[in-house]
């Protein structure tokens, strides 16, 4: 009885505040729902519309598949129209086209594709205005793709390689230098603003490739001092590359084989898709096997020089945390909080407003959905690039590159030309379904105004 009385009295004392409180809550809830519905409607539309690959993305995927099957002309045809569109995938489609055209020895197309990518990569503020806002708020894929630092470095490397193959050593040198600049984004500066030479040195160590090519360029530009400096830097970073960086060997070589081996890192997301990582790691993938080179059926002694001067799997692991990563992580965490909060509110409140519960959960889901990381990447990249300088008698030679540790992985070219003066450079993309034998010159080279032999 007492308890009932107490209960009644407490009800009586709250009789003025409870209805008012409920009314206020209802108004707040209504406002919250309206706010959320206004915010969520366009986001949901974008999400639903954005689900699944677009026709252009499917076309690019087909081109990538064709590339790995060694069907370069088909891949080039698929990528050419995509690379002409100046949308958010402009750089990505151009580097894809560059890779395909280089493997196809269509050097004009490869040069212009890599050059277009180079120009955008070297430009800052490309994502100004709506794209930055859109990438932060709605979907990161709205931003113009410029690649990770290792991808940017490789764009410059391939551009340099094409100039090198064409004997334009001034531009080749510039591109290799720029490749090294692009790696500075990996950790030149620490949090207190001081330069961290250790972290940059580590990155450079994984990209001694650029120094080797720089040294060769300087040799051909008759800049002995700079050539010595570049080779010395390569050895300083990687003492095991002493034979590759040998001044005399590089100077006397009249044939350079550039061999792309393996597959580059894959961009993956962890947890709920908001955090980016790269797999596999060098440890997961194991050591890089050594190539074997046969010239006219004779095995060449390349054990000393055929060492991998770059490991993109290692380089990718040095990825720097960026502002957009923080935004995604915060959105994801807030989204999780809203979902949990909405569920808790619905479960624990005596008379929960279902709209508030739904609004919080839907808002949380939308935030999480828009916090997905951008996993676009340059799929054609190799794990490493071998540089094999050789000195051969001038004339035509049949040259095979094999990897005994990887069954079935070899590539043979018949009739590669070694000039009486100067140097010839040939590019091998090692793929299981692209073993050859191929005849030199390839169809793309027989068109006028393309030549690799100087």
């Amino acid at each position: 009885m007492t308890a009932t009385t107490q209960s009644d009295s407490s009800s009586a004392s709250l009789s003025f505040s409870r209805p008012a409180c409920r009314a206020r809550r209802a108004v707040l809830a209504k406002q919250l729902i309206r706010v959320l519905s206004w915010l969520l409607a366009p986001v949901s539309c974008l999400l639903f519309l954005g689900c699944g690959p677009t026709p252009a993305e499917r076309q690019a995927e087909r081109a990538v598949t064709d590339y790995f099957m060694g069907n370069y002309p088909s891949a080039e045809n698929l990528l050419r129209p995509l690379a002409a569109k100046t949308n958010e995938d402009f750089v990505l489609n151009n580097v894809r086209l560059g890779s395909v055209a280089l493997a196809n020895y269509d050097l004009d197309t490869a040069e212009s594709a890599f050059l277009r990518a180079y120009e955008v990569i070297n430009s800052f503020g490309v994502n100004n205005g709506g794209r930055s806002l859109g990438a932060a708020v709605v979907d990161e894929r709205i931003k113009v793709w410029k690649g990770e630092p290792y991808e940017r470095a490789m764009v410059n490397f391939y551009l340099g390689l094409i100039y090198y193959m064409r004997g334009d050593y001034g531009n080749a040198r510039a591109a290799f230098e720029n490749a090294l600049f692009k790696l500075r984004d990996y950790g030149e500066e620490t949090k207190d603003g001081k330069k961290s030479t250790d972290s940059y040195r580590e990155v450079e160590t994984n990209f001694a490739l650029a120094y080797l090519m720089l040294g060769r360029c300087y040799q051909r530009l008759n800049r002995e001092d700079e050539a010595h400096k570049a080779f010395a830097r390569a050895v300083d970073l990687r003492p095991d590359l002493e034979a590759d960086a040998d001044y005399r060997r590089n100077d006397e070589s009249n044939l350079l084989l550039v061999v792309d081996f393996g597959f580059g890192p894959r961009k993956t997301t962890s947890g709920d898709g908001a955090l980016v990582g790269f797999r596999p790691t060098p440890r997961e993938q194991g050591p890089i096997p050594t190539p074997m080179v046969l010239v006219d059926g004779q095995m060449m002694n390349v054990a000393g020089v055929a060492r991998p001067p770059v490991d993109l799997l290692a380089l990718a692991q040095d990825r720097r945390w960026q502002s957009i990563d923080t935004i995604r992580a915060v959105k994801s965490a807030v989204g999780t909080g809203m979902i949990i909060g909405g569920a808790a509110y619905g479960a624990m409140e005596h008379n929960p407003n279902p709209w508030v519960t739904l609004g919080l959960i839907a808002g949380g889901i939308a935030l999480k959905a828009t916090s997905q990381a951008d996993v676009r990447q340059w799929e054609m990249l190799p794990r490493t690039v071998f540089l094999v300088p050789l000195r051969l008698p001038p004339g035509r030679h049949d040259i095979s590159v094999q990897f005994p540790a990887v069954p079935g992985l070899s590539q043979t070219w018949y009739g590669l030309e070694v000039p009486p003066n100067g140097e010839a450079t040939y590019y091998y993309r090692m793929l299981r379904y692209n073993t050859g034998p191929f005849n030199w010159p390839p169809p793309a080279m027989t068109r006028p105004a393309t030549a690799t032999v100087q």
């Binding site: 309206r34 206004w38 120009e119 503020g125 994502n127 806002l133 410029k146 001034g170 502002s323």
Partner: protein, 189 residues
Amino acid sequence: MEKRLRLALPLLILLVAGGCTNAVQSGRNTALDSMDLTQMTDQMAASISASPKVQAAIARTGPLKIVVQPVQNEMTAEVLPRGQADAFTGRVRDLLSKQAHDKFIWIMNRDAFYALRQRELEVDLGPSPEAINPDYALTARFLTLTHETSKMRTSAYLCVFELTNLNDRTLLWSDKYEVKKTAVKEFLD
């Protein structure tokens, strides 16, 4: 509040959708641009025309027979494709052809001439006895000091143009164009 939202939301959508420029519209870099091309070549053409040494040579030998070479790229980490390399010296030639057409005879680059001859005539005719040999070469060398950090990129350019006597290797005229360019990295760069 709702009214404000109704206004703010379309604005946000407009900003995201309408504010999106394409991949080649809004970037800035440290490369030489069309303004530099115009300024530099205007300056060089005016400088050659006004040079007392050039005037004296013309008075002494008549119109100068000049071959134009593409720019030599000695820049740090800056690529200069062939077309652009030709444009910088080609525009100087073009300006001088218009301004002082009676003072200069422009000779085609030898490699380009024989390549064109071979391509157009379909047979390799060998050396052309009628070809006029140039007396002077207009050359250009572009150099930079370039530095890039995770925050910015700067390039200080020195573009040197020279008119060299091919017979005695003396320098008839020389001038330079200097410019410094800085591009600051932004969000998402």
